[in-house]
């Protein structure tokens, strides 16, 4: 062992250079820490490799027809996931529309001096608790509370405004709208939390300048603070979308699992994650291949959205510094 600390000290001095055992321990510990980092990288690599390599037979057999096909029938060996992709995007965008509005409003409400600090803390806790409830509990709640609660409204809409494609069918239980509503509640905390950070990072001086020019509270918020925090809020929305695309349980329980492409908010649909959740437990070897293919497609979609979200967040943080 080399000893870089060798200094002329007396043998009985209190000050001693680290002993060779201590150096050994130091080296081992640092190597262990490095190993921990390598494990993370290896995990991501293994994740992509496992899902990718298991999907290869499915890709060779079905190719791009798998993505454009609309039938999922195990008996006929026909597999297509276009309806699931459609349902994934449609439900996630609906959820983003609703959850985004409430999430950003909540963030404005909590950061722009509407409330005394104590009351704001109560609302902040409510939002954090919303994030803590497991998705399967939301699913159960959705089946027995949300669906019965919205049914009168959806019946009325489909009867009187049925000519609009969005209201084209009646809600017969599970469907896209209840799924999107519950999904919106689940992504609200993410959007609210990240948007709050963005709004808080707007310098106080900017706000004071707006007030100094005679802006009202809302003029300052809408015309000065939100534009200043826009990149961060946009990043929050993209991260929320990423979460909505990958959410499984609430959708598996509420979306209805029917392979159809429909604009109607009230008809049952399917999503990629729900397709995996429902078919995996009972799948035979043939079906496993195509399910792995579907998992790969889901991974690529969420990866693209999440990386875009992270890049936007990094960009907005660089701008605010």
């Amino acid at each position: 062992m080399s000893k870089p600390f060798v200094v002329p000290v007396q043998a009985d001095s209190v000050c001693q250079p680290p002993s060779s055992t201590e150096f050994l321990i130091d080296r081992t510990f640092r190597a262990l820490a490095r190993l921990g980092v390598v494990v993370i990288l290896a995990l991501v690599a293994a994740l992509v490799f496992e899902i990718g390599s298991k999907a290869v037979p499915g890709i060779q057999k079905y190719g791009l027809d798998f993505i454009t096909g609309t039938v999922w029938d195990v008996n006929q060996q026909k597999f297509g996931i276009l309806p699931a992709i459609w349902g994934t995007l449609y439900s996630a965008l609906m959820a983003l529309l609703i959850g985004g509005f409430f999430g950003v409003t909540m963030a404005i409400f909590l950061t722009q001096d509407f409330l005394p600090p104590r009351v704001a803390a109560v609302f902040r806790t409510i939002v954090e608790l919303l994030a803590a409830i497991p998705s399967v509990v939301y699913g159960l709640w959705g089946i027995y509370v949300v669906i019965p609660a919205i049914r009168p409204l959806t019946d009325w809409l489909s009867q009187s405004l049925g000519w609009i494609p969005f209201f084209g069918s009646t809600l017969s239980g599970p469907g896209l709208l209840p799924a999107a509503l519950v999904l919106a509640i689940m992504i609200l905390p993410t959007i609210a939390a990240v948007s709050q950070d963005a709004l808080r990072s707007v310098p106080l001086k900017t706000k004071q300048a707006a007030y100094g020019m005679g802006a009202t509270h809302w003029e300052a918020i809408l015309q000065v603070i939100i534009p200043a925090a826009a990149t961060g809020i946009f990043g929050a929305l993209v991260l929320g979308l990423g979460r909505a695309l990958g959410e499984t349980m609430a959708l598996a329980m509420l979306v209805g699992n029917s392979n159809q492409i429909s604009l109607s908010l009230f008809s049952p649909a399917n999503t990629l994650a729900a397709l995996l959740a429902l078919n995996f437990p009972e799948a035979g070897p043939n079906e496993i291949e195509v399910l792995m293919y579907a998992a790969l497609v889901l991974m690529l979609i969420t990866l693209a959205v999440n990386v875009a979200g992270s890049l936007i967040m990094a960009y907005s943080q660089r701008g605010s510094k």
């Binding site: 490095r34 409430f102 399967v136 159960l140 499984t248 995996f280």
Partner: protein, 297 residues
Amino acid sequence: MTDLSSSLSAVPSLQRKFETRALRSILLTTITWVSAMLASVPLFSVLYMLITRGGARLSMEVFTELPPAGFEMGGGFGNALVGTFVMVGIAALIAIPVGILAAIFLAELGPQSKLANSARFAAKTLTGLPSILAGVFAYAMVVLTTGSYSAPAGGIALAVLMLPIVVLTAEEAMKMVPKIMKDAAHGMGCTNSQVIWHVVLPTAMPAILTGVMLAVARAAGETAPLLFTALFSNYWIYDGGHINAMSPTASLAVLIYNFSGMPFDNQLELAWAASLVLVLIVLVVNIVSRLVGKTKI
């Protein structure tokens, strides 16, 4: 006289006029208040349902008995509770040591190195991984290799979800340790690992614990990764003197999912009671983590 009136007319009127922008402010504030209230409704509705429907069924026997079949009455979810603890325990045993070690490297040993930057990016990407894909991964890696659904497979799937949370929160916690304290320790001749063990880790411990507990709470509530890794079972994991480690294992979350679609009232009541228990576990861990995190450095 004329001088005064002309100078008066130059002064703008101080009388308050009705302004549309004031009206708009009031309107927007009202909308904001209403939206905030509406956004809080789901939480209270969920809690209300859990307490009324789940609380009605809660008794000692649901914690000690096995899930009922079809038309059976009674029963409970004792095995699912045990299964959840076992699988979250396995996940914690894997994710916490690896996560904290990696965080030490990211925060202290090589924060700007290429390895650290790519690992940080990998961890951030993992936080956005749909939980079902963690299940697909564990299925491909463990279930297909060992040939059976099992508790370790479920635990590994949960570990994949816990790891990035532990890494990122622990890194943040260690970055908060004042540089002066580390410099002082280095100045006394400590090796890097002595500084980490005796200064950085003890100082950052409350915040690290917060992250760890949040990760545990998240894992306890996850369903999707367990659906086809641990599957479900109607029996105890510990049976007849030996542990059935490599067999399907029940968990609270999967029990709720399975029972939610059943047409029997008994199962449905149990699903609500199990939800109440699950939410209580998650909330208690959450609240404790917050209390721990409040401990000042």
